[in-house]
């Protein structure tokens, strides 16, 4: 088992909403599993070194998680898409270890 670093984008870039969400994430070390995703229920995050350039100024949280707690999203030919899913039930939370927030405050 290894620890990996992920980046979860907050509130689709809405900084005011991101600040509210960040407080909850910081306090409880968790991410909310949202609705209506394409690759199954879970909290989605980019691998820290795979975040696209055009997303780097979005409000985000950098965190750590065990690699056995995630599902990497890959194409059928095995090509990684650069992000992963932390499986969970819609409306519930998944645990993470927060490292830092960026572009939030």
């Amino acid at each position: 088992m290894a620890r990996i670093q992920g980046i979860h984008l907050l509130a689709h870039g809405d900084r005011v909403e991101a600040q509210r969400i960040a407080l909850d994430i910081q306090q409880h070390q968790r991410l909310l599993v949202g609705t209506n995703t394409m690759y199954g229920a879970g909290a989605y995050a980019w691998y820290a070194d795979q975040l696209p350039q055009n997303l780097q100024d979005w409000p985000q949280v950098l965190f750590e998680i065990d690699d056995d707690a995630i599902c990497e999203i890959r194409l059928r030919d095995g090509t990684p898409r650069g992000f992963f899913r932390i499986p969970g039930t819609i409306g519930s939370y998944v645990s993470i270890h927060v490292l830092t927030f960026t572009n939030v405050w």
């Binding site: 984008l9 689709h12 870039g13 809405d14 900084r15 949202g34 609705t35 209506n36 995703t37 394409m38 690759y39 199954g40 989605y44 696209p52 055009n54 997303l55 100024d57 979005w58 409000p59 194409l75 059928r76 992000f83």
Partner: protein, 142 residues
Amino acid sequence: MDPGTRIQLKARIRQEVETMLTEGDRVYLQGLSPSALLEAVENELCFLGLYAHEDHETPVVIHRILEEHLDAWCQLYLWSPKVEIDASPFIQESQSEAVKILFGDETLYFDFGQTTGPLRFETMSAPRWTELDPYESDHAVS
């Protein structure tokens, strides 16, 4: 948004939607309501960073494009039956030096629509590859 930018955006959306619908969990996706699927696609496009967070125009255009085309794209990529090539006795997917597959101007079709009588064979003109490329023409699906 100028027409050229809109065409580029539509092509990118279509590319991403094709990936989502073909690589995603088909049973899960087919179980989503149309509105839930639309929202899921929008969430994914946002996640992929198709627009900057201060850009309020592009999400509106994306929503319009999806409202206009998502049903057709779903028919094309999500609901159309997939040919199980590996299980088919009639088709060899992998090419080898020993077996050559010729792509000619005519293709032989088996008519499975009939329920009685001998199996009927038909030929018809095969489309050119350029006609099959969904990204070549903006009018491929409209």
